[in-house]
Amino acid sequence: MQVPDIGEVVLHHTADAWTVELPFIGEWHLPRWPDVHVGPLVVNLSPTKHVVFLIVAAILVFLTMWLAGRSLKKQRAHERAPKGFANAIEALVFFVRDEIAIANIGHDGAKFAPYIMTLFFFILYCNLLGLVPYGSTPTGNLAVTGALALTSFLVIEVSGFLKLGPKGYLHTIFPPVPGMKGVGATVMSIAMGPIELLGKLVKPFALTVRLFGNMTAGHFVILSLMGLIFLFGHLTGWNWAIGFSSAALVLGIMLLELFVAFLQAYVFALLTAVFIGLMQHEH
């Protein structure tokens, strides 16, 4: 038996693609559009596999929320206690709203709650789509996590600017140095500027890489364990044991990935809320 290049296979499977694999039908070749030139940038807006799954995740999130809301409304109309699926979604929504948004942002938290909730559920569904057969994880793409983190960055900075005003916001870049006066304080503040700016930029960068890394790493591990079958499958008499143990390990990692999918959605939403809260309470 010829052993395939496992590394090549792993990278190929976790990479974005121009086609979407569909069960029983085969491959769906997505349309290719010409490049767009934006200044020095060359951007190609053609939809890819990850775009398709982004849209799928968004539709699933919307359906979940919409159906939960509808069924809650119906239960309410009949004066019944909430139950089942709708109640579970309701509990999750309220957990994100109260424990993530309001707990970290403060009384303004309710204003940011829709954004935090959308972020949490969208990332969660994107993460979970990678665990579905034929699925793919849009959050395992640096551009997607980067775009989400950039959104968070804009929300953090703009909300901070609106809350603190131009002077207060400038203080978050050139912080007043306690215990210093006159020229020394000014020099010190200006010297702190680059560090503070870097601090602001590091936050979305960390968000980007954390989510991407967690999602991609899980797939790497699963595919590598699957690769063991191809590496050692030629050992006659042992191939059944290799297959069985690989599958068992993959099952374990899959369960871990299920947990990580929730955890990373939580972490992304939580950190965004914490950063918004930090900016809101900066003085």
């Binding site: 990479a15 060359v42 890819t48 919307f62 809301g69 775009a147």
Partner: protein, 183 residues
């Protein structure tokens, strides 16, 4: 910044080549992610979140209201109980006062009755005394009359025997006089 971006999208210029690794950055996906995310946020904000949040906030409100109601009723019941206890205490007090008053009246009554009995007894005693006195005086008078009669009889007897004995007559008279004074 631009240099970083250009470095990141190095492979992007070869637009004919499909991505082969997850570490390639396709800036087109930034656009797609933003579009999908913002659309989702808008749609959820308009159609899904209000239903979930409003429904539950309503329930929260209702439960809060019910709790407040229960609190109020509890307070009311407690106030009522206090009032009842106050009433009970005052009723007890009144009963005690009534009993005390009755006791006092009975005491007075008893004393008055006793006084009256004592007075009556005194009156009866007085009357008895007076009657005894009168009886005695009557008896003394009768006795005196009898004594005079007896004396006269004795005297007449004596006179029959010693009629003109003057000295004897004097003696009798003297004796009678002594009787008078002795008495």
């Amino acid at each position: 910044m631009t240099a970083v971006v250009l470095a990141l999208q190095e492979g992007e210029h070869a637009a004919a080549r499909a991505p082969s690794s997850p570490f390639e950055v396709n800036f087109g996906l930034f656009f797609w992610t933003w579009v999908v995310f913002i659309l989702l946020l808008a749609v959820l904000y308009k159609f899904a979140f209000p239903a979930i949040l409003k429904a539950t906030e309503e329930r929260e409100q209702r439960i809060k209201h019910q709790l407040a109601e229960a609190e109020r009723m509890n307070a009311e019941a407690r106030a009522m109980m206090e009032q009842h206890q106050r009433l009970l205490a005052s009723a007890k007090e009144q009963a005690q006062a009534l009993i005390n008053e009755a006791k006092l009246v009975a005491q007075h009554e008893r004393e008055a009755l006793l006084q009256k009995a004592r007075d009556e007894q005194d009156q009866i005693l007085e009357r008895a005394k007076r009657e005894i006195e009168a009886e005695r005086e009557r008896a003394v008078a009768a006795l005196r009359r009898e004594a005079v009669d007896l004396s006269l009889a004795a005297a007449s007897k004596l006179l029959q025997e010693r009629l003109d004995d003057e000295a004897n007559r004097k003696l009798v008279t003297q004796y009678l006089g002594s009787l008078e004074t002795k008495h």
